[in-house]
């Protein structure tokens, strides 16, 4: 059997000091394979974001390990984690978080520029292809805060793809969008998952979207209570 892309072992996470300590994640064991589209569901406060942030190297576990592509994240220092986030992961958040000081095209290029400086023509071409892919190439020179919320989220998806990461983490990417935009953003993520074979882990409250994933993981009170592959996605 091939090694999984992500392997989570006995993961726990506590918040708070001493007496007020609460255990938010209570021993999570999970594996994710290449190219999987996973939906993570659960009640509010169940620990979905906490888990996603730890997988995303934004937070450190209290105990347990996360190994991504052979790298044990516990072994990395903060700068190495930053570099890991930049090279290996793409993030899409509920709030779109583009930088309003930059244009749409520049925002797509920011993960690249953080490490490599100003973009060369090859990178600009790739950024344009991604903008094209999310249907926003005509907005390339707009200020990032001058476009609609749905458009901003699509730019954020293009941004997540610029460094060609193997994993994309999305925390309620459609949480702030109306029905039409929700549909288009989800379809986009699904298509990208198919097209680039990118592993996708998406936190959502939307049961219908979750039902159209490859795999459904449900978390309740810090524990996995359901983990199943959906053999018959409802889409198409």
């Amino acid at each position: 059997m091939v090694d999984p892309l992500i392997k989570i072992t006995d993961l726990t996470k506590d918040y708070g000091e001493e007496t007020l300590r609460t255990r938010v994640l209570k021993g999570i064991n999970l594996e994710f394979k290449c190219g999987e589209f996973t939906s993570l569901i659960g009640a509010s406060g169940s620990g979905k974001s906490t888990l996603l942030n730890i997988i995303g190297a934004l937070d450190r576990p209290t105990a347990g390990t996360v190994v991504v592509d052979g790298t044990d994240l516990n072994q990395l220092d903060d700068d190495e984690l930053a570099h890991f986030r930049n090279r290996s992961l793409g993030f899409v958040f509920q709030f779109h978080f583009l930088l309003p000081q930059f244009t749409v095209l520049e925002n797509v290029l920011i993960p690249y520029m953080i490490y490599a400086g100003p973009a060369n023509p090859t990178m600009e071409k790739r950024a344009m292809e991604l903008l094209d892919r999310v249907g926003l190439s005509h907005r390339r020179d707009s200020r990032a805060n001058a476009i609609s919320g749905g458009e901003q989220q699509r730019v954020a998806i293009a941004r997540a793809l610029i460094n060609q990461p193997r994993i994309i983490l999305a925390d309620e990417p459609t949480g702030n969008l109306d029905t039409a935009n929700t549909k288009s953003v989800f379809t986009l993520l699904r298509d990208i998952n198919g097209q680039y074979c990118t592993s996708m882990i998406m936190v959502t409250h939307d049961r219908e979207l979750a039902g159209r994933s490859d795999r459904l993981v449900e978390i309740s009170d810090g524990m996995i209570i359901r983990d199943e592959y959906l053999t018959n996605p409802t889409e198409k």
Binding site: R87, Y115, G117
Partner: protein, 405 residues
């Protein structure tokens, strides 16, 4: 420079551009601070250079004499005070015998410009019923011209003083109602009165000189006084006025039996006035710099709060902590640089306006060293004052930002 620093620079620039009003305000603020520093320096330095020029421009910077403090022991014995030992009124001047070798040695020192051996004597001049006490000064008129600008100061008579010329001070000439070409009677102690012709009248711009000096060639004065081949003092001008004290000290060590006194020693009170003027100017400048530091720090602290969302997202997508710090330090650097440039323009304009409108008799003086110090100090201060905000903002936890939107 690594390439990712270019991105940091463009981030810094975008952040500054976004808060255009704030940015311009702080640049103007730094500019005003720098302008004050520039203007104040130019004013104080100009004023002091003028004062020093007035004090020693046309006079010796170092005087070598063979003084003997005759009363010194007695004074010390009475009250035990060391201060009275140095009392100049108690000293008697003895002639310098080896003046030729002293002169030769000093001319060889390249810090020294002019060396003027002088034979001094006192006496009276008389015309009709009017008489005046004079200081008879004998020196080489060519050399003296270099030190006192004699030729340019002559207001009556031949402007080109010859070796045989007899010149007197302007006030003396007025008192005796004489001018070039008139005879006067010269009375020296223990000598027969004699008549000399006045060849010229000078105005050296110093009342004490204009009232007392009668100038002739060194050898003629020596013959008149019967002093032989000796001089009273040796006067020296150096190239660097402010360096006179060091030169004097070095030669004083070499000739311990002579007094080698720099203008700084004989003008100690002027010098301490200049020093306290300078230090009050430095104090003001330090406070101006402090204001610059606080201004930049507070503006960047505000900007750091305003930009915490952007920083959070940048950190989430992998920017390193040092990079974030640098973005804010760079903002400090940019503010400092533009502020300093603006301040220099303003400061020069202020100085120009001062010269034109205040009509002072002295010129403002902006020394290159001062300029460099102000530039470096301000830019450094602005950059370093970004340090604390930079450190704080670079530690933003991206999770906080992501969670709260």
């Amino acid at each position: 420079m690594k390439r990712h620093m270019l991105f940091e620079l463009s981030l810094a620039r975008r952040f500054l551009e976004e808060n255009r009003g704030q940015t311009l305000l702080i640049i103007v603020g730094i500019g005003i601070g720098v302008a004050v520093m520039v203007f104040l320096s130019a004013l104080i330095d100009g004023l002091q250079a003028n004062l020093i020029q007035k004090t020693v421009g046309r006079s010796p910077h170092i005087v070598i004499s063979n003084a003997e403090y005759a009363a010194a022991d007695a004074v010390t014995a009475r009250d035990g005070s060391q201060v009275l030992l140095m009392d100049a009124t108690q000293k008697t001047l003895r002639p310098i015998v080896d003046w030729r070798s002293v002169t030769t040695a000093m001319i060889a020192d390249e810090r020294i410009d002019t060396v003027l051996p002088v034979v001094d004597g006192s006496g009276l001049i008389r015309r009709g019923k009017v008489s005046r006490a004079i200081l008879l000064r004998g020196f080489d008129l060519q050399q003296a011209n270099r030190m006192y600008c004699l030729n340019d100061s002559i207001i009556a008579g031949n402007r080109n003083a010859q070796d045989g010329s007899v010149l007197i001070g302007k006030s003396l000439a007025e008192d005796l109602r004489i001018t070039a070409g008139d005879p006067i009677q010269l009375e020296l102690p223990g000598r027969e009165p004699l008549v000399v012709m006045v060849d010229g009248v000078f105005d050296l711009g110093v009342a004490a000189i204009n009232q007392r000096w009668l100038v002739m060639d060194q050898h003629r004065v020596a013959a008149l006084l019967g002093t032989g081949d000796r001089v009273s003092t040796i006067e020296i001008q150096v190239n660097d006025v402010l360096g006179a004290e060091l030169v004097a000290r070095e030669w004083g060590v070499r000739w311990p039996h002579y007094q080698v006194e720099s203008w700084q020693q004989s003008n100690a009170s002027l010098l301490s006035a200049l020093k306290s003027q300078s230090s009050s100017s430095y104090t003001i400048q330090v406070f101006v710099l402090l204001a610059v530091i606080l201004g930049v720090a507070s503006v960047l602290a505000i900007s750091a709060v305003q930009k915490s969302k952007e920083i959070g997202i940048l950190k989430a997508i992998g920017i390193r902590t040092v990079s974030v710090s640098r973005v804010f330090m760079l903002q400090g650097l940019v503010l400092g640089t533009f502020g300093t440039l603006l301040g220099f323009g303003l400061g020069l304009a202020m100085s120009q306006a001062f010269v034109v409108f205040a009509k002072q008799e002295y010129e403002l003086l902006l020394k290159p060293v001062t300029t460099i110090v102000i530039v470096i100090a301000t830019i450094l201060a602005a950059t370093l004052s970004a340090y604390l905000p930079a450190r704080k903002v670079s530690r933003i936890n991206p999770i906080e930002v992501i969670r709260n939107g």
